[in-house]
Symmetry: C2
Subunit: 468 residues, 2 copies
């Protein structure tokens, strides 16, 4: 890309040719000016990246129940305290406390083709350990829970089940591809155990072919004897698959992860009280916990600091909301949702009404828009109202679509407000998700800040016009 003579004539005109008139009508001019101010402030003064630097570099990975999670609660509470909000408080929740233990060993033993090979592996969250001696067994590969079922107990008993269905690369939304593969990680160990398997190995949830193992939660279904479940990198999944195709492969697994007793932890909440309709709440949030590898930078440090930045932005611009704006940093999204549940129970008990809630939990990448969700009885009408604001958002590359919101706020649907998910570009998310690679360096400051600006713009419109 070259310089002056050509460049000066070719900037991208942001609004499409045929929506300019609408977006620039008198009705929207004041709003367009204010949203421009939000972006200007965010792109020049945002604190989000510096907050994220502390969360990732000073504190690091912060799995629910860990000392780092406690540090993150205290750090974000203190940061919210500096913002002259109307109130900042903690909300109790009991969280599971799982620990990874020693570095995992997953070793192909005496393969005819390769000899012994160590595979890049991570215990899946909530997994039990093998015990210090480990376990060795033959490997049987399947591509799905159904294929496992079809094999039956005879071919599975005493084996290690290897789940190897990749995420579908044709899904342009990588979350859809994730959704189409993650049943193997979530339920694979349980289903394998039911048929007498001794452990489960799961191909990592990523479109890439690399040597980075991914963790992430598994759940043991009721009445099932827990067996260890571990993720292996996609390159090692390809290798193991090629070995299994050629010979009987035995694998040695040793992991010492275990569930400890539950711990007291907290959601962190900061609030600006509404001036005329304080009973209508607009929530922005992300989750403060992360998995215990990497730094939880995209998942979901980004969503937390963006949510904090939304309040900072509106304060900095002197905006006095009519409605109550609440930033909620949820605890324990990754392995239990205890924070989200505690929040909902308390909110319902207090008879609160969340007119709107926005969660950012798809990474700190360039925002492409928002997905919206809500109770069927109110969704269409309220979403139509939001769609009228589209010409104000399109100049910033934002669109609106029906879709999910976020795991922490999903339960608020019963309050019959509108729930939103910030939808960033998804192509890179699963390069980092639940891995040692999810570190500050892979978050781009401008992408992060523009996500905060997008959320603040939507909050502004929701607050100004309401949905009812």
């Amino acid at each position: 890309m070259k310089f002056l003579p050509y460049l000066l004539s070719c900037f991208f005109i942001l609004s499409s040719l045929f929506s300019v008139g609408y977006a620039q009508s008198a009705k929207y001019e004041e709003d367009a000016r204010f949203i421009r101010k939000i972006y200007d402030e965010a792109m020049t003064q945002s604190q989000a990246y510096e907050w994220l630097r502390s969360l990732t570099k000073d504190i690091g990975a912060r799995l629910g129940g860990s000392p780092q999670a406690a540090a993150a609660v205290e750090y974000t509470r203190q940061m919210l305290d500096t913002m002259a909000l109307d109130s900042v408080y903690l909300q109790e929740c009991m969280v599971p406390h799982w620990v990874r233990g020693e570095k995992e060993v997953v070793r192909v033993v005496n393969s005819f083709k390769m000899g012994s090979v160590d595979l890049d592996a991570l215990s899946l969250g909530n997994s039990i350990g093998t015990g210090p001696k480990g376990v060795t067994a033959p490997v049987v590969e399947v591509k799905s829970l159904d294929e496992l079922e079809a094999l039956g107990r005879e071919k599975v008993e005493g084996k290690i089940v290897f789940f190897n269905r990749p995420m579908d690369p044709r899904q342009m939304n990588t979350f859809a591809a994730y959704g189409g593969a993650v049943d193997q990680r979530a339920l694979g160990a349980s289903r394998a155990s039911k048929l007498g398997a001794v452990a489960a190995l799961v191909r990592s949830m990523t479109n890439g072919l690399d040597d980075i193992p991914h963790t992430g939660g598994l759940m043991y279904e009721e009445g099932v004897m827990p067996i260890p479940g571990l993720g292996i990198s996609t390159l090692d999944a390809e290798l193991l698959s090629s070995l299994v195709a050629a010979e009987e492969v035995r694998v040695y697994i040793r992991n010492t992860s275990q569930m400890m007793s539950p711990k007291l932890s907290y959601n962190v909440i900061g609030e600006i009280k509404g001036s005329t309709k304080p009973e209508e709440i607009i929530l922005v949030g992300g989750h403060l916990d992360s998995w215990d590898v990497g730094e939880g930078a995209h998942d979901d440090g980004s969503g937390c600091v963006q949510s904090m930045e939304v309040l900072r932005l509106l304060k900095a611009l002197g905006y006095q909301p009519k409605r109550t704006l609440r930033c909620v940093l949820f605890m324990n999204e990754e392995n239990g949702l205890a924070g989200g549940r505690a929040y909902q129970v308390a909110s319902d008990a207090a008879g609160e009404y969340h007119m709107a809630a926005i969660e950012s939990d798809h990474g700190g990448f360039t925002p492409r828009g928002f997905t919206a969700d809500g109770d069927a009885s109110i969704f269409t009408k309220k979403f139509r109202k939001v769609n009228k604001w589209l010409p104000l958002l399109e100049p910033y590359g934002l669109r609106l679509a029906k879709g999910g919101s976020g795991a922490d706020i999903n339960g608020l649907k019963s309050q019959k407000g509108l729930l939103f998910g910030l939808e960033p570009d998804t192509q890179r998310y699963f390069d980092y998700h639940h891995t040692a690679a999810d570190v500050l360096e892979v978050v781009n400051k401008r992408e992060l800040d523009s996500g905060a600006a997008a959320m603040a713009a939507l909050v502004y419109l929701l607050d100004k016009y309401g949905l009812d």
Copy 2:
């Protein structure tokens, strides 16, 4: 971001709620199916990333006139030769041959505050050298060419002029911010020389604050005595500015870059002949040369391999175009545009008609759409036609807007076809542009491939329906 129970209910619905009906009308169904096939093929079988690996890792930086540029010509010609096109050929052009020489030294000399400090610097492309002894002079800082003019000869003569206006972070399109700052790099040395300066230092063209110096072309205006021009990193620009504010600062500069005699080089062209309207040409292209640092991965290896992939995709799907599809890898975009000019001269001389041309030269990031440009006499009518296809492109996150196309194809406007630029997300581009950091590792395979798919989808529609 958590797992199964929540996820399965919340995938992003790609089309906006209110355009689904249009996009799914009978008229568009066949096209929608074919475009889906293009994306499926691109996201599973694309060769773009492997070609880019060779261009970046095996060949590397490939400034016009360099041995690496010659290697890139031969490599891409051979790759196009494997694709069973109707013709593959080289088109001659004479290119300038500039060489950087030894590692640059830019040293603050005996600052009261800091002592001696070496700054991270790169000679700007086309710059002359200081000669082996270097030059030492006091520094005068300005924020613009106008500010320099206002200072006048008295305050500039014998000095090193330091241009330090940052790119505007409020511009959400970073190319607009680049366009607003790059006059300092392109013209700074010339304007400083007119007032008797001995050298120019220019703040690097990036929104980031880092220690990576950016190169890029400068031009010496006619009749001006050339003086050396060098880029320094943004962190060092901040440092130098703080020193200049506090004391008289002297800087020692030594660079040995020089212009050699012009070299013969080539555009690389591959073509599928149209079946019924071969005289109407649809061009896809990027530029094969890069600056001489880094690997030219985003700028513009990405655009080259995407353009090659467009032809591969359509061949792989058995598509027989009505019109002639031509992939052109232009030489010497970065410091002269000799390839683009040679192409245009030959095309005009042959009486060709480029019905459409698409250049990809804004990096291999997730595509956001296309900008379109054309002669005023035809633009509105033809662009309206293209806009009718928008419902086919929107599901892939693509939009259309009036804007620039690409430096190499811009001259084809006189043939009165429509010119397009592939417009990817721009937030990260200037983290890498013209630096040692523009390497394969910062290109995401899925982002790159989806850009090729977007181009192929537009080519398919242009070929099927035409613009006239």
